[in-house]
Symmetry: C5
Subunit: 321 residues, 5 copies
C-alpha cells in the first residue's frame, strides 16, 4: 500500500506525486523523491523497480521478506534491511523495513509493523536544511527512528529480569522462575538477531570507505552505531545475567531440597521417638516396670512429650525446623 | 554416472555431447560446457580430468570424498566443495557436491544425495541471458539451490526444539527430553559443519580479490553469503537455546525431586501420626484412659481421622500435597 | 552549575572569566580556557555550545546523558564520555563526565557524581609546564583522575569475592552466599560497562592516527590505556572466579544434602532397630521366650541399647554421624 | 640414530652418502640431500648443524624436544616442529618430528614415535618428477604423512564418544561414564595441542608471504591446512559434545535419583499402610469391632492386602513403581 | 639496593663502576652499561633516571610497582615489565622485574622475588660474542631466565590437577576436592595474568616493526614468544580441565547421593518388612493362626528372617546394597 509519495526540491515539498510520475522526478537532478510503502504488494514493488531502476536481487529480497538486517551496495544505490521490534502484551513482534536509497530518492517499505515514519517525515519537512542534505540523511532519520524504539524494548526486558530476580530471591515457585527466565532468554535472542547484524551494517556507513549516497552523514550514522553498541552491550549483559540467574535458581532449588530433607527428617524424628517408647511398652512381657501402676500410662506419655520437646528444641536450634 | 553433458553457445543449448567431445568444445572460447555427474566412478573422474585439464589435487579430493566445504583456486579455475543436507525420517543425510569451475565450463559431481540440479539447468536454459553470464553464474545457481535446501532443515530443527520445549514445560518424562535435546544438538553440529566453512568459502567470492571466473557475479554470491549468515546465526541461537533448555530441564528435574520429597514426607506424616496414636494404646499398661470404655476404640479412630484431616489440610495449604 | 571558568596563558592562570567572555578568549590563539560544569542545565549547555562552537550531536548526547563511554571526533575537536564509579555503602553509584576538547579549550561537565576535578586543576596550576602542553594534557589529567578512582572499586569487589569465598568454605548459609555472588556479578557487569568501551575509546588516542588535539600526549594516554587493560583483566578474572565460586557453592550444597541424607538415614536406623525388636515382643503369641521371665523386659531393653550402640559405632566409623 | 642419508640429483637417487659427505653435496646446487634421523643423539645433531649450517636456536629446540608445533624461519631455511600421535591400547602416545628445510636439503629427526617415513621416501623415489620439485615438496610429503595419521586417532575418539553415549543412554553405571568422558576430554586436549599450533604454522606456508623454499608448493600445503581445519573442527565439536554428554549424564543421575526416591516412597507406602491397620488392632481397647470374631484376623489381613493392591495399582499407574 | 653496576666494551667487562659514573660511560657509544637493582628505593630510581635519562612515566611505574606485564617504547628506549612467579610451600609468590633498555645500557630492577640474574650475567660474561650483540640481547637473556622459571610452576600446577583428579575418582571427601580445584583455579588465573600480557608485549619484539634496540634479536624473542604460547596453551587446557573436573566432581556427588538414597531405602526395607509382620501378630484378635501354637513365635521369626534374606538378596542383586 502506498502511504506517501512526495517530491522535494531544495528541502521543500514540491508536490504529492503519483506512482507514475516518480521516474520523471527522479531524472531531474535537483529533485528528491521520498516514497513510503506499507505491506507492499508484489505488483507495487515491480512498479517501484521500474520507476527507480532498482536492482532485481534487492527487490526479490524485499518481496520475500524475512531477511536478516543488512546493507548492500548495488552500484551507487544502497539497500538496507532493518528489523522493527514492538512489545505487545509482553510478546515481541518483529517487523521489517526495507530501504532503497539512491542519489536523489529514498523508498521505504515496511511490513508487519505498526510503526510508521510520518513523524520522521514531518520533522524533516519542518526543517528544510535537514532535508536538503539528501537521501543519506533521510535514511539516517528513518533508521534512527527504528533504533530509538529498541530502547524501550530493552528496558522492558531489563524490567522482566529484575522481576524474575526478585521472585527468585523471594522464594517464589521455582518452576515459574525457570519458565520466565527461559522466555526472557528467547526474547533476548530475538533482539540480538535484530541488533547484531544491523550494527555491522551501519558500521559500513560510518567508517572505512563510505558509499557515496551516505557521504557527509557518517557522524549521524556513527551516532546510531553508538546506540546499537550500547543496546548490544546491554543485551549481552542481560544474557549473562539470565544464565547466572538460572544457575542461582538451580542452587536455590537444591538448597530448598536440603531444607525439605531436613524438615522431613526433623518431623520423622518427632514421631519416631514416642513411637519407639510406645513400642517398648507394647511388648508383652509380663514384668515391665510400672505396667500395673496407675500412673504408668500418663507418666509414659509425659516422658514422650518431654523427650519430643527436647528433640524439638535441639532441632530448632540446629535450624532443621 | 554421467547425468548430463551439454555444450552451450551464446546462452543457448548447442548439443548434448559425448564425454570424448568435451575437450574439443572447451577449446572453443565461444562455447560453454556444463557436465553433471552423479556418484562418479574413479574412471569417470580421470576422463574428466583429461578432458578439462583439472588439477590432480582437486580430482583426488573429489575421488576420496568426505571433504569439508571449501573453495580452492588452481590457476584460473576453481574447485568448490559443498555439503547437501536432507532430512529423511528425522535423520540428517549428508551428501557432497564437488564443483569444478573454469572459464567456459562447469563440472558438478554429486554423491550420497537425492538432490539433482535438473531444475537449475532447466531454469538456466529457459533464460539464455542468465546462462550467457558464464561459469560463475552457473556455479552460483547450483550453490544457491543447495543452500536453499538448508532452510527447511533448519526450520525442522527449530520445530524439534519447540516440541522439546513444550514437552519439558508440560512435564513430560525428562529422560525423553534429555535424549531429544542431545540428538538435536548433534544434528546442529552436523549442519554447522556444513554451513560454517561454506560461509567462509563463499565469502571469498563476494569480497576482496574475486577470482576471475566469478567476476561480475559477486552480488549473487553475496546473496548466498547472506543466506548462510542467516542460517549460521539461526543455528548458533538454536545451540544456545538447546544448552539453556538442557539446564532448564535439569532445574525442573531437581524441582520435581523437591516435589517428590515433599509429597513423600506428607504421606509419611499422614501415616505416622495415627500409627503413633495406635502405638500409645498398644502399650500394655493396665490403666489407660478409656481402655475398657465401649467408645474408646471408635473415639480413638475418630481422633486419628481428625488429626490426619487437620494435618492434610495444613500440608495441602503449604503446597506439599 | 558552573564550577569554574578560567583562562590561562603560557600555562599560568590569567583570570576567572564569566560565561560570556569565553568566546573572546577562545578566539585568542595564545589563550587556553578550561571550564568545569556540574549537573549542567540545558540552558548552560546551549550557552557553552554557542561560546565554544560545539557540535550539536555532542551537545545533545551531553544533554540526554546515559551515554556509554566513547570518543567522538567532530572536525578537530573531541567529545569524550567517561563513567565515574563510586562505592557508597556497598552500592555502586554511576556518574558521567562529558569532555569537550578543542585546540585551546577543555569543557568538562559531570553529572551524578561527587567527584570533582578541583585537585586536578590545582596540580595543573602548580605546574605550568604541564598546563602549557594544552588541551590534550588536561583531558588526560581528568580521565586519569577518573580511572584512578576505579582501582579502589575493583579492590572492594575483590574483597567482596574473598569474603564470599570464606563464607562458602566456612559453610555459612548457602542462600546468603548465592545472593552475595549474584550481587557481585551484577556489580562487575556495571564496572565492565564503564571500562570496556572506555578502553576502546582511549586506544584511539594512543595508537594509529592520533587526533590533532591529543598529539604529543599519546604516551600519557597509553598509560591510562594500560590501567584500563589491567582493570579489565582483573574484572574478567573476578567474573570467572564468581562463576566458579557459584558452581563450588552448588557442589557444596549437594554435598550438604548428601550429609543430611546420611544423617537422616543414620538416625532412622537408630530408631528403627529397637522399634523392630519391640515389635517382635509386641506379638501376641502365647509362647515367646522370656515372656514371663522377670528379666525379660530389662534384658530386651539392654539388647536394644547394645545393638543401637553397635549400630551407632559403625555409622560413626563410616562417617554417617 | 641415522636412518637414511641420500643424495639426489634431478629427482633421482644419486647415492647413499655418509654423514661427513653431506656438506660437500649440499654445496652442489644441482644436488639435493635428504637425511632422516631417529631419536637423535646430541652429538649427531651437532654434526648435522655443522654439515648443513643449521641455526643454533633451532638445533637447541630439537635437542631439548617437548616443543609445541611451530614453523620458524631462519634466513632462507625453515624449522618445523610437528607432533605425531599414535593410539596404543587406547592411550595416546605423543612423538615429535623436527624438520630442517633448506634450499636443497631436508633433515627430519623423529623422537618417541614408531612412525617412520620410509614409505614417503619410497613414493618420492618412485616418482622423480615429484622429488624434482625440491625441499618444499619433501617437507610437504612428510607433514602430510604425519597429519594423515591424525585421522584414525580422531575417528577412534569419535568412536569412544559414541560408546560413552550409548552407555549413558542405556543407563550403564554413571560413574564409569563420567570417568570415560573425562578421559576422552583429556585426550581431545592432547590432540588439540598438536593440531591447533600446526594449523597456524602451516597457514604461513599457503597464504600471505610464502618462504622461498616453500614457493610453488602452496597448493599442497593448503591441502594439509584443509585437513587440519577439518580435524580441528571435528575436535571442537567432539569437545562440545563431551561437555554436553557430561551435562546429560548429570541430568540422568538426577533423574535416577528422582526415580529412586519415588520407588522408595512407593515401597514405604506399601509397608506403611498395613502397618497402620495392624497398629489399630494392636491397641488394647477391650471393645474393638470383630476382635473376638473368628474371621476378624483373616478379614483384616484381606483388607490390608486389598488396600495395598489398590495402592500398588495407583502407584504403578502414576509411574512410581 | 644496587646489586651490580658494570661497564662493558666489546663484550668484555671493563670495570665495576659507581652509580655516579654511569652517565659518563653511557655517553661513550662504544661502551655498554648493565645495572641490576633489587627492591630499589625511590631515591635510587631517581638517581638512575638522571644517569640514564629515563622517561618519567616509566620511572613512576617502576616506583609504584604492581604493573601488569607490558612493553612501552619511549623514544628509542624500551620499558619492559615482567612478572616473576615462584612456588613457596604450594603458594604462588609474585614479583616484578622492570627493565629499562636503551641503545647501550640495560637497567633491571626486581622486587618481591628471590630470583637474581647473577647467572645470566655470568653466562653473558663467559661468552663475549653474545654480550657484544648489545642491550637487546641482554634484555632477551633476562626475560628468558624469568620465563624459563614459569615452566616448573606450570608443571607443579599440572601435578596438582593430577592429584585432585586421582582423589576425585578415588572417592576421597568431595569437599576437599572442591577446595583444591578452586585453589588451583585461582593460581591459574594468577599465572595467566603474568603470561598473557607478556606474550602480547614480547610479540611486538619479534614481528611487525621491531624497535631499534631489539633489532637483530627477533629470532631470540620469537623463541620466548614460543615458550609463552606453550605456557599459555597449557594454562588454558588446565583451566578447561579444572572446570571439567569440577563438573565431574558434582556428578560424582550426585551419584553418591543416589547410592546413599538407595542404601537408605534398602536398609529401611530390611527393617520395615519384619516390623510389618510383627505388627500383624501384634493385633489383638483372639483368633489368629498359630497364636497359641508352641512354635508360632519361632516360626514367625524364621519367616521374618527368610523374607529379609530374600529381600536382601534381591537388593544386593540390584546393586542397592
Amino acid at each position: 500500500m502506498l502511504v506517501n509519495c512526495v517530491a522535494y526540491q531544495d528541502g521543500r515539498k514540491l508536490a504529492d506525486i503519483t506512482r507514475e510520475e516518480i521516474g520523471a522526478y527522479v531524472e531531474r537532478p535537483e529533485c528528491f523523491v521520498w516514497v513510503a510503502l506499507k505491506e507492499p504488494e508484489p505488483a507495487e514493488l515491480d512498479a517501484m523497480q521500474r520507476q527507480f531502476g532498482l536492482h532485481p536481487l534487492a527487490v526479490e529480497d524485499a518481496r520475500h521478506g524475512h531477511q536478516r538486517p543488512k546493507l548492500e551496495e548495488y552500484g551507487d544505490s544502497l539497500f538496507l534491511v532493518v528489523h522493527t521490534i514492538e512489545l505487545q502484551e509482553g510478546e515481541l513482534q518483529l517487523g521489517e523495513v526495507h530501504l532503497f536509497v539512491g542519489r536523489n530518492y529514498v523508498l521505504s517499505a515496511r511490513t508487519r509493523t505498526q510503526q510508521g515514519f510520518a513523524e520522521v517525515r514531518a520533522r524533516c519537512e519542518r526543517e528544510p536544511e535537514l532535508l536538503k542534505r539528501g537521501a543519506g540523511f533521510v535514511a539516517y532519520a528513518i533508521v534512527d527512528a527504528v533504533v530509538d524504539r529498541y530502547f524501550p524494548v530493552v528496558e522492558a526486558l531489563e524490567a522482566e529480569l529484575e522481576r524474575a530476580e526478585e521472585r527468585i530471591f523471594a522464594g517464589a515457585p521455582a518452576r515459574a522462575s525457570v519458565e520466565a527466565l527461559y522466555a526472557l532468554k528467547q526474547k533476548l535472542m530475538v533482539v540480538l538477531h535484530a541488533v547484531r547484524p544491523l550494527e555491522e551494517a551501519i558500521g559500513k556507513l560510518c567508517g572505512g570507505r563510505i558509499p557515496a549516497v551516505a557521504a557527509g552523514t557518517q557522524e549521524y550514522f556513527r551516532d546510531i552505531s553508538d546506540h546499537l553498541a550500547r543496546i548490544h552491550a546491554d543485551i549481552e549483559s542481560l544474557r549473562d545475567m539470565v544464565t547466572t540467574a538460572m544457575s542461582v535458581n538451580l542452587s536455590l532449588i537444591s538448597l530448598q531440597e536440603n531444607e525439605n530433607t531436613k524438615r522431613l527428617a526433623a518431623y520423622a524424628a518427632l514421631v519416631a521417638v514416642p513411637t519407639l517408647i510406645a513400642g517398648l511398652y507394647g511388648m508383652n512381657f509380663q514384668e515391665m516396670p510400672g505396667l500395673r501402676w496407675q500412673f504408668g500410662f500418663p507418666l509414659t506419655v509425659a516422658t514422650m512429650v518431654s523427650v519430643d520437646y527436647w528433640v524439638y528444641r535441639r532441632l530448632r536450634g540446629a535450624g532443621w525446623l
